[in-house]
Amino acid sequence: AQSVTQLDSHVSVSEGTPVLLRCNYSSSYSPSLFWYVQHPNKGLQLLLKYTSAATLVKGINGFEAEFKKSETSFHLTKPSAHMSDAAEYFCVVRISYQLIWGAGTKLIIKP
């Protein structure tokens, strides 16, 4: 069965410090993986996606993620957090046309 586990429900970092949001997946197939961001009272926005090309994927707003098949992980990182990064982040696995959503990680940025 396919599943997605976001290891932290909340992550709190200081502005200007690195961000790490962890995601592990389970899939019998070669998955496509995504990170979406949802700002308060806003729609979902695609940050980045992995679709079997380069394992290090760069997204918008300075975010990137690395697909590690041996660890079944797709962690999201950013070198330096900004106040505007405060939001909910979702790791998603896509199998064919079906999306499997992680529970979400709320990123809190301390001034």
Binding site: T51, Y97, L99
Partner: protein, 112 residues
Amino acid sequence: SAVISQKPSRDICQRGTSLTIQCQVDSQVTMMFWYRQQPGQSLTLIATANQGSEATYESGFVIDKFPISRPNLTFSTLTVSNMSPEDSSIYLCSVAKPGEAFFGQGTRLTVV
């Protein structure tokens, strides 16, 4: 890509009434998806809507409560029937294209 227009963006409804949410896509798509996002939660798939056939509902969701129409390849509606406060959520429609999924802006429903 795909642009999805979803309406209404929000509504406050009386319990026992029904609300129909509409989604219009700017291109033809085979499958459209309806999700619910309860407060502070992730997205839960309600059903998959294919044009010309009955929608396929996920466990815990039934057609009587969430009837779906899919009259053509660019449009779908979801009705939340006989609403109760527990139905207060954000409802989103989505389409999947090769390499990416696209979402409407969501309908924020409050049932009072």
